[in-house]
Amino acid sequence: MNECRDLINTLAACLSTSGWDPGLAQFVQILLGVVLVTLAPLIIVIFLIWVERKFAARIQDRIGPNRVGPWGLLQTIADALKLITKEDITPAGADRVVFNLAPIVSVVSVILIWAVIPLSPIHIGVDLEIGALYFIAVGSIGTLAIMMAGWSSNNKYALLGAFRVVAQLVSYEIPFVFAILVPVMLAGSMGMQDIVDAQRGMWFAVLSPIAAAIFFLSAQAETGRAPFDLIEAESELVAGYNIEYSGMKFGLFFAGEFVHVLTNALLLVALFFGGWVGPFVDQLPILGFVYMFGKAALFYLFSLLLRNTLPRVRIDQMMNFNWKFLVPLSVINVAVVAFLLQVVRALGLAPASGMENDLIANLPQAAVLLAGNLVIIAVVLQLLRNAGRRDRSAEAVVVSKEDEMLPAQAAH
């Protein structure tokens, strides 16, 4: 890819020196970069689906895809061919334009995020100054796609599913954005490269593990993965918003979800786990890919593990978890981090200028912030313990009353 970028730059330089209009040469340069960044997630997703199926199969004590190609690697391609040749049914009464647009929008909204994902010190689609804001804005188009799909299908299951999804996605957007606020505050920039660059001394996940955890959980909910997969609660809504979709259009929803999970893992790594930062990355930028995707793969697998081991929550539990736990926690976390940053500065514990990249110089600040986070975690756990005890004793009272009722009823 390093050579690739140089190739694109050289090509553009070549074109402009060989008499092309410089504006046109620049356009070709941009276009090539764009095609590269757009295709990357779509090619990766082919293998992600295989990884997911194999992983789920192993957890369930099955073998998984193993026929098409070595270890079943080409299974996804066979599936894609099958989906393309399937008849595409548009239900009567569907809103055709919106119906056909919805699966495309759901993939596009995810692909657009890739424009600002920093893959190595020099490889990023475009390093926008407001990168963080950009991916929040673009990512929420996905909600729109689901609403479009549910609304246009002219099916009650689809519409019910879409309502649920929108309620879920919209709710979990709040802790998601609050969690992003913390790296922005620590890095003092919304540019994705700046945020990664600021983690050379210390990962932000160490400075604020709560924010990282909130980001991961709400990202899990945003992609509609278990335990938050009410979106496609098979036992309740048959399939949810995509029930009327068949053939390749269904495949696109599917692909969009998979790319979204990987995208969120990459964002988590970039925002909290040091992104491409690692040894020798400045001499050999291509190593950034290894660090970035290596760490993202770990979080992807962790997300798969959660998906395959946790049961689905009820919708009221899910809403309570968000509004009464994640949202207050994320607000408090932002306030505490802001307060501790002031304390760090007042006590002169912040790394001196020029020393930001040094691990030792970052330790005092990290210790203060980490201690603050641990205090929050301790307090929150205690509060949860109390609330749980209260709920259980309330339940116990109800049960004992029912027990008293029984003999009386039997007497009648």
Binding site: E87, G125, K156, Y157, V184, G188, E244, W323, K324
Partner: protein, 120 residues
């Protein structure tokens, strides 16, 4: 890259990003069989014909959650400039930010104790 160029990239990106997801659907339209009939095109249901209009009124609960979200979402965006400049801000700015967060959570707790966040 200068600022104009950056957004030119995003502009081209938004145009190109549509192409690759659209391609398989267009391809499928050529390759796949097309034999519609009235029964196949029916709305999917549990073995019975669907009753009444699909586009029914939705529960007010969704609306309330949407409203609470809207309040949060708009105010969160206002926090981003504050967070971005935080390294240069003094203790007073921290107080101002705290006040802002307090107003936010105040709304949340109001909705909470009103019982609007209960999903029944």
């Amino acid at each position: 890259m200068n600022v104009v160029n950056e957004w030119a990239f995003i502009g081209v990106f938004m145009a190109v990003a549509w192409i690759f997801p659209t391609l398989p659907i267009v391809l499928a339209a050529f390759v796949s069989p097309r034999k519609p009939n009235a029964i196949k095109m029916q709305t999917y249901e549990c073995g019975v014909e669907t009753v009444g209009d699909t586009w029914v009124q939705f529960r007010v609960q969704y609306y309330i959650h949407g409203l609470v979200f809207l309040i949060f979402d708009v105010e969160m965006i206002f926090l981003f400039p504050w967070a971005m400049a935080y390294n240069q801000l003094d203790f007073f700015a921290f107080g101002a930010g705290l006040l802002f967060l307090f107003l936010l959570t105040d709304g949340l707790f109001y909705a909470w104790f009103k019982g609007d966040l209960e999903w029944s």
